[in-house]
Amino acid sequence: MISVQNLSKEFVIHIRKDAHINGFDSISFDVKPSELFAITGPSGCGKSSLLKSIYRTYTPTGGKVIYTCADGSKIDLASADPCDIIELRNTEIGYVSQFFSVIPRVSAMDILISAQTSRGVHAKQARERAEEYLSKVGIAPKLWDMYPATFSGGEKQRLNIVNALITRPRLLLLDEPTASLDAKSKEWVMSLILDLKAQGTAMIGVFHDQIAIETLADKRFDMRTRSLVPIGYDLPIDEGMLQEEEAI
């Protein structure tokens, strides 16, 4: 469904004397429907930058991201027109960010209903599905009509995940979706992700959590070696990378 080919990202910071910062370099992999492709590696190695480059929040500096749309046509997300990207985001591609961000002053229920109705789901059905998903991730009914700004960190993150999953995207990008969740919430969220995967959604996810990787992932890609590694494999510690991490 998606083929990442030699994708690279370099940041040029003009306001810091044109400093060049390498995000990641020449990354290639393919992801099929119903497959969860886990990206792992230490902090600062470019995992989130890679996801953002696929979602086009970052503009890649090299390579291609060939995505096969629902109608069978192919599009290079790395160079597509912004209007095409907006359309795909509104219809086919979902993204769970590391940090929760939604339109302010809109209740949790309205966020979820609006995400569905904008994709043509009937309002009544959208409400029923929103109630079902909110219950599944343990968000209490008394919070459903509240603004998410008043939620705890874990509740916000669960809502963030539900907001992306409820639209049943064909491609879902997950940036550390379970990082700030307790064990029970993690279990709820992983169950929803597995359900969606079974329905055919292709997923690319950044994970630090070994349990999540082992439960969810079909393939594991290591950013340091730029290659596939066994899912349960514990990579040897790279001294250079550790120093970089400490510096960050």
Partner: protein, 278 residues
């Protein structure tokens, strides 16, 4: 992907104050758009854009970057020096709206466009009632039935949460937020496909600002109006727009998805702007 037809398309729009000279005609990157030789101001220089149905296009830039002049030119408050602008619903996009008669321009302003100004004095007549302000726009679009006009005016003002017992009050007695809401109802009275918003929340306090922005979002969602919103406040642009153009010295220096502009700005000026966010 499908072929989209823009509801509004501008090509190479230039607005110049002064005659220009060989130096400034050749050099496009003038500081603040001002020619150091002949003092001509290039307020808007060679700007092209496309606005699609139901989208919000944000325009950011510092004071004097030309963003408000661009909107005023599109709304015929300011004549363009050169360039081309077409509206899909006007002669099927075959006619440059800058080359039309003043009568046709009036038609376009009343039927196909709306404008909400930063300063309500520019958009409202302060000495006639709020209801008459809205009705004036309906009359300009050819409405002559008093009963339907009163009904529509009440509906529009209620929609922007102006209570009907203020219908006969003059806008000069309203708060800034209320004046902006009356302006919004006037600008959208004839369901135009295009709405221009020029710094609509500047000068309002935070809670009123939030209310006005929420109202604009709900109107956009409900009516599917394509909007161009000018602001120097990046938070407003981040909340409201799908795509963003960054202007500097009359030129567009960067454009793209709003999240890309905010998180991965390419141009030095955009990087400075984003880094100035509190």
């Amino acid at each position: 992907m499908k072929n989209r037809t823009p509801v509004l398309e501008g090509s190479h729009i230039t607005v110049r104050f002064g005659d220009g000279c060989p130096y400034c005609r050749e050099h496009t990157e003038l500081e603040k758009g001002r020619c150091p030789v002949c003092r001509t101001i290039w307020a808007v220089r060679d700007v092209s854009f496309r606005l699609y149905e139901g989208e919000i296009l944000g325009i950011v830039g510092e004071s004097g970057s030309g963003k408000s002049t661009l909107l005023k030119t599109l709304y015929f408050d300011q004549p363009a020096t050169s360039g081309d602008c077409r509206i899909a619903r006007y002669h099927d996009g075959q006619k440059n709206i800058f080359d039309t008669s003043s009568q046709q321009k009036r038609y376009l302003r009343n039927h196909l466009m709306g404008m909400v100004y930063q300063n309500p004095i520019l958009g409202l007549r302060m000495k006639i009632s709020a209801g008459a302000n809205v009705a004036e726009k309906l009359i300009a679009a050819g409405n002559r039935n008093a009963g339907s006009m009163i009904g529509r005016t009440e509906e529009l003002l209620q929609h922007v949460e102006i209570s009907l017992d203020r219908l006969r009050d003059q806008p000069r007695y309203f708060s800034g937020g209320m004046q902006q809401r009356v302006q919004i109802s006037k600008a959208t009275a004839n369901n135009p496909p295009i709405l221009f918003l020029d710094e609509v929340t500047t000068g309002l306090d935070l809670s009123v600002q939030a209310k006005v922005l929420d109202l604009i979002r709900s109107i956009q969602k409900e009516l599917g109006i394509a909007m161009m919103i000018v602001s120097h406040d990046l938070s407003v642009i981040r909340m409201m727009s799908d795509r963003t153009m960054v202007m500097l010295g009359g030129r567009v220096v960067e454009e793209g998805l709003t999240d890309q502009i905010m998180e991965d700005p390419m141009h030095a000026y955009t990087q400075t702007l984003v880094n100035s966010l509190l």
